[in-house]
Symmetry: C2
Subunit: 342 residues, 2 copies
DNA sequence: GTTAGAGAGCGAAACGGTTCGCTCATACCG
DNA sequence: CGGTATGAGCGAACCGTTTCGCTCTCTAAC
């Protein structure tokens, strides 16, 4: 149906090799160039990237594997990655494994079957076994949001520990002593770091850490919702809570609204990850903010370096681990209690 | 590097054709089946989908082309589409054209070059010219959120006119007469319908329509932000405003917060598209809600029907236009003024 | 016991490109 | 003017599958 190179050779009298050379930017006599371009125009010829992929063993396609496509973090990242990759003529094929390790492993197989040239992923699994196929095939991998101990990959992540430390320290400086954290279970890599930051800030200020103030769970809205209710119902509730990811922040705010618990009067809070949200909510939330676009940009560029061979195909040359800083965005959700106590 | 079918033939002594038959679910003698499976295991063989794509002229890949990947609507839809398609073993390759018609057209070419089996798109352009390539190649297309007058495609959209009518009617029933709408310019298909619904509701109630209360613009947060400020600064401001999409809703709420304009006391509002948002904001927003997952499901299934040949490849048999209803979700952002005026 | 029919296997030709190594013509040099 | 470098063009092999049409064997029916 669609025109092929062969149709062009027929129309121009040139050989396959010559037309192919033209298509790949090689030098061709001006008259032949004109003839080829004319034929392409007339025949509506368009390179068949599948055939080219078979011949060159490169598909100009990158797989992006993620736990949850439908959240701000993931979609912002994918949008930016797609943008950058396509500027270099790479396509982006997405897979959402919904936080399921089995599905994640299968997704890698799926992507490798499609012979993607590289894989960018926000991992779900806690070790890199599921990436073995990519490694042995020599397919470059870039990790977002975590690293693995059992093998080194290129990676881009945020200083989770620092982000959390900063937020909790802020609360301490404002005079809070009973500070709770709602966070993910340690099985989530990012949650581990954020919890560490909490500990560091508390210890540094010589504040006691109460396990009842540490609410671990999954990374869903519901967890934030349930946990803050639980915290506020305690006979000795915290005066401040650090909401250590986006969904948790949403859930907690919803719960506070429903229970008509005023913040910062009854409880001070610092949220995570959505700037717009902080302006929509009243009073405005203090927010820890990740540089999402920068994360995506770095990840895409690490991948392009591998793809264009600027660095070796894989761990041949050393991998790069990039850590970015978060920032904290002011709001009115913290009550200043410094000076209250003797 | 990677094992091929040929490696399997060498190991088993069988022919290419036989192994291929096995791979495609054909019948093979039990002993041969065992031999092949053993070889696959040992060699870590994995079908090369690129080669298969070349041979079969089907890549098991669908292109999804969208204006803005990083918003709730798009990402929710993509997540669901990807989910459904992959259950049928199709991959999803995404393109974000950022609302740019040139980029949109180029993206179609890009996708066709990659020989996707079908294209699902939320169009940016106002006519279907950019889809010509897909049509002449026989690549099925499913439209989301709009249809075209110059050619029929399968499509899934929402009853925009009805959604808007419902919202405005609600405001009227609550006794409002000076009702404004902040919406997109008519060049956006969805905006046109939503504006029509506004007109119908107003006319049906014999209310005068003032052009100053109709704020058209782009579909960005900033437009909502600017417009509501403008409306509230009028000497004769509206008592209610319908915020006819997600970004506009965000922008308007932010502006109201910043200006400390209390709603619903000073102005009643109905927002659009984000249920979670309505619970996070205080007081809770009345919201018009689109069935995003259902839109995605229908779109994916229309595509699968085409792909699996349940219906003809293209307009051969008639196209299907699916229209879904929106719902309206109650909040506390409307002041009841019925009975106020004689 | 013969034969029709089913089922399994095989060989070879696609699919639409890229690429290697060669030939040939032209231009340039001394 | 002979020799050589340069660069364009060409033929053929190859990438890893599928698929068509054929052969062969085995079973079952008569």
């Amino acid at each position: 149906m669609a025109a092929t190179i062969r149709d062009i050779t027929k129309m121009t009298g040139l050989s396959l090799a010559t037309v192919s050379k033209y298509l790949n930017g090689g030098n061709v006599l001006p008259e032949n160039r004109a003839a080829i371009e004319h034929a392409i125009e007339v025949l509506h010829y368009e390179v068949n990237e599948v055939a080219r992929g078979l011949a060159t063993n490169r598909t100009k396609t990158v797989g992006v594997l993620i736990q949850k496509l439908d959240n701000v973090f993931a979609s912002t990242i994918i949008a930016k990655i797609e943008d950058i990759l396509r500027a270099s003529d790479y396509g982006t094929i997405v897979c959402d494994c919904r936080g399921d390790e089995k599905l994640e492993e299968e997704s890698i197989r799926f992507l490798l079957g499609k012979r993607v040239d590289g894989i960018i992923t926000i991992p779900t699994s806690r070790n890199s076994a599921y990436l073995q196929g990519a490694v042995s095939r020599g397919t470059p991998v870039v990790l977002i949001d975590r690293t693995f101990e059992d093998r080194e990959f290129d990676s881009v992540r945020v200083d989770n520990e620092g982000a959390s430390y900063q937020a909790v320290k802020l609360l301490i400086e404002k005079g809070h002593r009973k500070i709770a954290i709602i966070c993910g279970d340690e099985k989530y890599y990012t949650a581990g770091g954020r919890l560490q930051g909490y500990f560091r800030a508390m210890e540094e200020a010589d504040l006691p850490v109460y396990s009842k103030y540490i609410r671990k769970g999954d990374l869903e809205v519901q967890h934030g919702y349930d946990s803050i209710r639980l915290l506020m119902e305690m006979e000795d509730p915290p005066t401040a809570v650090f909401l250590s990811n986006y969904e948790i922040t949403m859930g907690a705010v919803i719960a506070l609204n429903e229970e008509e618990i005023a913040f910062p009067e009854k409880v001070s809070i610092v949220g995570f990850d959505n700037l717009l949200l902080s302006r929509v909510i009243r009073p405005g939330l203090w927010m820890v903010v990740q540089p999402m676009e920068e994360i995506a940009r770095q990840a895409a560029e690490l991948m392009l370096e591998r793809l264009t061979g600027a660095r070796g195909k894989q761990d041949s040359e050393g991998t790069k681990q990039i850590t970015l800083a978060t920032s904290i965005y002011p709001g009115e959700s913290i009550l200043d209690r410094s000076g209250e106590e003797a």
